[in-house]
């Protein structure tokens, strides 16, 4: 059987929250188009959310420690890469990684995935799930499809 030699993989997930402001506006659209496409999210004064981020790491537990990745270490990485960058910030103006992108849930999740991926040295970043509210979330999942790590999806064109 294919992959029969592989051990089952463990996935661990850590959750973190941050609060931030944003609005949606594409300078290439007219004011009317911006209002039509983005609706309430186009309010130039911005609005905010309590974002909830769930980060999932996949891998084999280290035989010595029994851990895929020390959750304390993951917590520190999330603090440095995400919370320190985004918490109580305005995503349109204060997060250089989002410059030139509409700060939608999809784009923020993609940016977080790209920030975290090189920092995860034990196990592999499997998924970033970002909740903008309890009823809306975006997932970025590592898989064979399109995972060349080269695209910067979401740059305004």
């Amino acid at each position: 059987m294919k992959n029969a030699h592989m051990k089952p993989m463990i996935r661990i997930t850590r959750k973190v929250e941050f609060s931030a402001a944003h609005f949606y506006h594409n300078p290439r659209f007219s004011a009317e188009e911006n209002r039509r496409i983005f609706g309430k999210c186009n309010n130039p004064h911005g609005h905010g959310h309590n974002y909830v981020l769930e980060v999932t790491i996949a891998g084999e537990p280290d035989p010595e420690t029994g851990m895929v990745l020390d959750l304390k270490e993951l917590k520190d990485i999330l603090q440095r890469e995400v919370v320190d960058r985004m918490d109580h910030r305005h995503l349109n103006y204060e997060v250089p990684e989002l410059a030139g992108k509409i700060p939608t849930c999809e784009n923020i999740a993609s940016v977080i995935f790209e920030l975290l991926e090189p920092r995860i040295t034990q196990g592999k970043l499997y998924r970033v799930r970002l909740y903008e509210s309890a009823d809306l979330f975006a997932d970025c999942t590592a898989d064979g499809i399109g995972s060349n790590g080269k695209d910067a999806p979401g740059s305004i064109k």
Partner: protein
């Protein structure tokens, strides 16, 4: 890296699990409380997941200004405050288990224009959830 967008919707409906091909006793044994003759209800949560390219000019896989009215019309208005067994044609001849409800809702949403429906996941209660991802033939975008 694959990106998806998920949105949750709610409806409240009643149903009864009963297979007319089986006897009354067999139905009671199989479905237990869910076979209670007058039906019972749930607050269903429908989690809809779409995949597709993130459109660079909007930053979106799908615009909620289009998705929300589509799901409202195709699902919420159809299912909310209804008796699924009698009022949804699909369930006149099929037991409205949440497995079958997930499949039916997938069928109703799969032609959403502009993004691919990847998954419908239904929470029947906060303790039970059921998901359907379609099959290759069903999940090809319209």
């Amino acid at each position: 890296m694959k990106v998806s967008l998920s949105r949750r919707y709610r409806f409240a409906a009643s149903h009864r699990l009963n297979n007319p091909k089986l006897g009354a006793e067999e139905n009671r044994r199989l479905y237990g409380k869910c076979n209670s003759p007058y039906g019972h209800g749930h607050n269903y949560v429908v989690e809809v997941t779409l995949t597709g390219p993130v459109e660079p000019s909007t930053g979106m896989i799908a615009n909620l200004g289009e998705l929300d009215p589509f799901v409202e019309k195709e699902v919420v208005e159809v299912f909310d405050h209804k008796y699924l067994n009698e009022e949804i044609a699909e369930f006149r001849n099929r037991v409205p288990t949440t497995e079958n409800v997930a499949r039916e809702i997938f069928r109703r949403l799969k032609n959403f224009p502009g993004a691919k429906l990847e998954r419908v996941r239904i929470e029947e209660t906060s303790k039970n959830s059921f998901e359907f991802r379609g099959n290759e033939a069903e999940s090809v975008p319209a």
